[in-house]
Symmetry: C2
Subunit: 246 residues, 2 copies
Amino acid sequence: MNYKLTMAYDGTEYHGWQRQKNGITVQEVMENALFRMFGKQTDVTGCSRTDAGVHAKEYVCSFKGETTIPTDKIPTVLNTLLPDDIRAYKCCEVPDDFNARFCTLKKAYEYKILNAPVCDPNLRRNVWHYPIKLDFEEMKKAARILEGKHDFAAFCAAGSMVKSTVRNLMELSLKKEGNIITIRAEGDGFLYNMVRILAGTLVYVGNGKLTKENVKEYLEKKDRRLMGITAPPQGLMLVEVTYGKD
Amino acid sequence: MNYKLTMAYDGTEYHGWQRQKNGITVQEVMENALFRMFGKQTDVTGCSRTDAGVHAKEYVCSFKGETTIPTDKIPTVLNTLLPDDIRAYKCCEVPDDFNARFCTLKKAYEYKILNAPVCDPNLRRNVWHYPIKLDFEEMKKAARILEGKHDFAAFCAAGSMVKSTVRNLMELSLKKEGNIITIRAEGDGFLYNMVRILAGTLVYVGNGKLTKENVKEYLEKKDRRLMGITAPPQGLMLVEVTYGKD
């Protein structure tokens, strides 16, 4: 049976999603839980290879296995086997060719910036604390330039080996509540570090290091070095993953 | 000089505010930072003796000392000496008789309940995850009964040695955003564990173990055992402390 599982995690303690040699990852912990549930090694495919320290409010993974546990009880069983920074919400059976990574139609991320002189200790694991006053209106204007289908090569970290750097960024919106700026990015796919570079670039517009005209020009130049910094991981959260009918 | 300092902390890793033998407390960490700043042992008085695991978004403490550091720079200096789960925001000079504990006019706490089948790992340090569906409207009605000046003996943990258990609960309100219920309690003072027992009692009304009529009756009986459980600490946050003019 092929399963689709919806879950969430606090990425603070993990070296990202993808299994690696140098540190504990969400994928590894998930596969260990599945090993205990199915009684055999089970590979899990995730919808996104989130970086170390990045969180997920809604994450989807898929895996194959055979069990007598009713499908709707799988999250309950997994939650007894998982640490409390990873939770399984919902499980359903999907066709054999469903793959959590390759079947996504769109994904949405939120990036939170706390724009205040001093950090709030109760938010520190989920925001980028940025103490210098940001020009929110200019950031919104720059975001509008980036929305839509573009070659986002300038927003792709070095070392990525993708065939095409063209992506459709359906939404890049900003809202402000108190001193928290939330950037929402929704797209058909994202390049390596793309949302964090988008956030870092919008912050550079907010602090005056870049103008919205620069952003337009540099997007066309496709040069990563011209854009803002890669914003730190803890502000980023995967919030929504959309598939066609499963 | 007598100083009043506004600060905040994530209480997850602390055994509460008050210095004790068995574990690290916020007061101890604060006094260690003040020792390094003033160059001598400095006692700090806090506005509330929060329990282990309870947080503060706005906390006020006072201490006496002599330094050439300009008063408005004291938070910046302290933040270099404090761990990142404690932050100092604002410091001002106050008359010698100002005492952060005894001069409070009112305090406001918020208690957050995540009422959903599975906990959200990114909120787990700041909510009470309560999986059984709660009747929000009944909880609001019960809260209205508790508002005002009453003898809150039924909401005071055993072992407390206060002269009077009469308190004025100026506000006990509830709001619901998505699956998060926030209880706000504002009063001139709170008994030991009072807000957590209020939260536990409102949850007992929400799950049907108590009716609002029971709450009214048991409040008058002044018997702690009749009320709901003491809600877990991590849902509680001190959010506001008010003084007369300093």
